[in-house]
Amino acid sequence: MEGSWYYYKYRRFIKWLGLYLALAGPGIIVMVADNDAGGITTYAATGAKFGFNLIWLLVLLGPVAYVVQEMTVRLGAVTKRGHAEAIFDAFGSFWGWFSLIDLGILDFLTMVTEFIGMTAALQIFGVPPILTIIGVSILMISIFVHGRYWTWEKIVLLFCVLNLIYIPAILLIHPNFSDVIKGLIPIIPIGGFTGDFFFFFMANIGTTIAPWMIFFQQSSVVDKGMTEKDISFGKFDTAVGAFFTVVVAIACVIITGTLLFKPGGVDIESAAQAAIAIMGSSPLVGSALAIGLFDAGLLGAMCISLASSWAMGEVFGWAHSINNKVSEAPMFYAFYFLSLIFAGIVVITPGAPLVLITLFVQVVAVTLLPAALVFLLLLLNNEEMMGKYKNTLMQNILGFLIVFTIIIVSTLYALSVIFPEMFK
């Protein structure tokens, strides 16, 4: 009797797992891609500057990202519309155009930073930037040749697995795990609440939610054809993704915290610089950091360019599904390919203001992030649109608290970029 009960439970679990594996994708992809080239640089710099002291913050950021992204799953599955189209429909053309144009500019600039990360990572292995740009462009274009969402998603998930390269790298450096566990306790590092601490605190929160993530996951849920009955799987998928994003972030901090951190902190400007510094003492770990940086940039570029293309397709009424072949959705793919190619060209253009672009991304992001988050919350509270899937009281309390905090911190972070002396 007991045996058959266990067998029944086992069969149910296998059935559930099969369903989950079929529906898994958008949540994991968006969360892992959140650790893009800029994110990896932030984590590497955090580890080098503060050792393991800010690990607790990264752990807290997982649930924060989950709360925001989970809302996009419900909104996409219920309305069957991407975020750009939903904004146009609910708030009118003024806010619609504002969001779409801002998203286009921001995504393009962010893609440039992804290409900067990718070229810097492969330069460590002696690959010239132009070859990286050409190779990456061919790879990203060839992924769409099949014209099937499923194929695209599984290939991208493979790149997500590669993002976990930091975990085996940790095993090679033998960090002091008792110190790592101490890092889970929320404390302000020795030296107190300095300008540097505040800057890194803001930078880590700033990398947690980017506007493209909201647009990407909602459109992805719609393109995958998820419906109301799939919401629980979508939520679980997002939770799994949030878990991995935190694991990767912590792994990155552990690597630079173990190999680069010295009392007083070490300043590094990019993850590529950290990889080069680590190469001297541990070539394998340095290589892993560089490969991880390349992969992070690649994932980021893939998702960001798609977020813009989906948004444009939704608003202009073009065919905009990855299930369409290139000939069936020419404008959607043209926008995707051209944004890719132009971002690549900017990076290899001699004298291009790449540092300025990298800084400017933070500033443009705070013009869109508050709007995208506020629209998300307002849409999720609309009973006519969401029915029984609208936000509960608890979801609203959490949502408003998180959105408000993200807006304040991101704005302060952008201000610190505009006025570097502000928090010194």
Binding site: G92, S93, V366, P370
Partner: protein
């Protein structure tokens, strides 16, 4: 006109229209006109917000406008100090 002449006339006219159409489609002004039409259609389609303008929605949109104006002022100030 005989039947053949009418047929030839129609074929020639179709060919001229086709060439005109192809020529027109290749022009920048045609592309711009199409984009403008698409944008006008979108503006018409979404001219009225579907969301009910409750006090909370009104306040949120007002706060967003204020926030964006504040950002523009800060960026303008930064630009001014950089240029000066």
């Amino acid at each position: 006109m005989s039947g053949d002449s009418i047929k030839n006339y129609q074929e020639t006219k179709n060919m001229v229209d086709y060439v005109d159409d192809r020529y027109e489609k290749g022009r920048v002004s045609y592309v711009l006109r199409r984009w403008r039409k698409a944008i006008n259609d979108i503006n018409k389609k979404y001219s009225k917000p579907r969301l009910k303008m409750t006090p909370l929605v009104r306040f949120s949109l007002f706060a967003l406008r204020l926030y964006l104006i504040m950002l523009v002022v800060i960026l303008s100030y930064k630009f001014y100090t950089m240029v000066r």
